[in-house]
Structures are given as C-alpha cells and as structure tokens.
Symmetry: C2
Subunit: 137 residues, 2 copies
C-alpha cells in the first residue's frame, strides 16, 4: 500500500443529450492500470455485499443505476460512509486494507475495476485478522 | 485493421448467488488493451444510438440490463444483427470500419470499452464516406 493511500472520489466526464446519458473514463485519469472488471446487478433490494478487505488489490467502484451505500473501515479512518449515485459522475477509489460493506438500493448496478487478477490469497475475509493487519500497518 | 478482423461474441465469466449476479472480465481475455470506457444509460425506450463507424478504434460492447439490438455493416459482411442481453454472458467485439446502429430496449444499459482515447478524427459519420472506405478496403 502506498503511504497515505486513502479512499477518494474521482470525477469522470459525462455527456447527456436526447439519446441518453453517457459516462466516460480514460485510463490516464485512473490511479492504477486496470486488469479486471466486474459488474454486479440484480442484488436483492437493500442487500449488502462485501464483508472483506484486500491485501494489495486496489479497486474503483462506479454506480450505474440506483444507489450504493458504502461503509468503509481502514488504517487511516475509523469509519467512512459514501453514497454512490449515477448523477454524481464520481467513482470511488478504494485502496488496499479497507474493509467494506456495499448496500444496493433501487435496483443498483455497480461497475468495479481492479488493479489485479482474482487471487483468493489477496482477500481478507476474517474481520479479526483484518483488525490485526490494520493495527500492524 | 487486422486482416480478417471480424465482429464476434466473446464469453465472460459469471457468478450468481443469493446476493445477485456478477459478470467478470480480465484484460488477458480481451483482443486489445482498453484505454477508454463509456457506459450509456437512460436511453429513451426503443431509441437508436450509433450511426457511425471508426477508422481504427476497436470496441467491446456489454449489455448490463435490458436488451441492445445491434445492426452492423462492414467490409466483410453486408448486414449482421446481434441481440445483446445480460444473461448471455457474452460481449460483442467490434473491429474498425463497421457502421453500427444500437437500439436500446427495456431500460438497457451498455458498457463499452475502447482501444483508443476519444479522437473525433477517428469517426466516420458520413455514410457515403463509409461506403467508399469500405469499398477501398
């Protein structure tokens, strides 16, 4: 993890006309090279996903529809909350070692971009282990 | 354009459980390095987008919700039609020199990935010019 690497909102371009709304993102405006994408849909109303942190992978989270309530806990913050909605034209950058819960509302769709390929060894799924790693950091 | 470069469907991984449906894509399974993303939403029901081709940019089109009817015309095909829907777990690869119309149905959302940054000079917006370029190809 880079020193001082904190969650932050990153703005992206937006173009709206009579044919709809387009969000636009170029790799040069991102804090890492994207190697993996995943998109999440048809989450039961109000259900939460997450409940893990990553040792080294970094992620970007974009809300394409509805709203996503993000609750984070990490080395530099006790608790942090974000509400992601499409009209904000902002994505959330998530550094490693942030434990997150993501509650999907209003038929939310999330697009996520990750710095690394899937590796189960990069996941911290035990909250007590997360607290220990956070403390040691 | 690469010789024999044709539109094609590319499968991606899918994971479904009680918390929703996740589509997953890694850069190593894609035919080009992605430099730009754009996502299109809130298109009026049945409205068409597109009406242009690209000189060199290549694109991937993923339907995240609803259905997208794609009508293509290019150097190697007279006309080609695809219906993209999320449950297919396939994206459409689009080479350069393919004129396309994209009709959005059922509150469709499209995620597109492009091989190049935005450059108006790469767009062919005049159908007669497109036909000439296609013929010369």
């Amino acid at each position: 993890m880079q020193n001082g690497d904190m969650p932050k909102l990153i703005s992206f371009k937006n173009h709206q006309d009579s044919r709809g709304i387009m969000g636009i993102l170029e790799d040069q405006s991102l804090p890492f090279k994207v190697q993996r994408w995943f998109w999440i849909r048809q989450v039961p109303e109000g259900a939460s996903r997450g409940g893990h942190a990553h040792k080294s992978s970094r992620q970007l989270i974009i809300c394409l529809q509805g709203a996503i309530e993000v609750d984070l806990e990490g080395p530099s913050i006790k608790k942090q909350h974000y509400t992601l909605e499409p009209h904000q034209n902002q994505l959330l950058y998530l550094p490693p070692l942030y434990w997150g819960y993501y509650t999907f509302k209003n038929n939310a769709i999330a697009l996520c971009m990750a710095s690394d390929y899937f590796d189960e060894a990069d996941y911290i799924r035990d909250y007590r282990k997360f607290e220990q790693l956070k403390h040691d950091h």
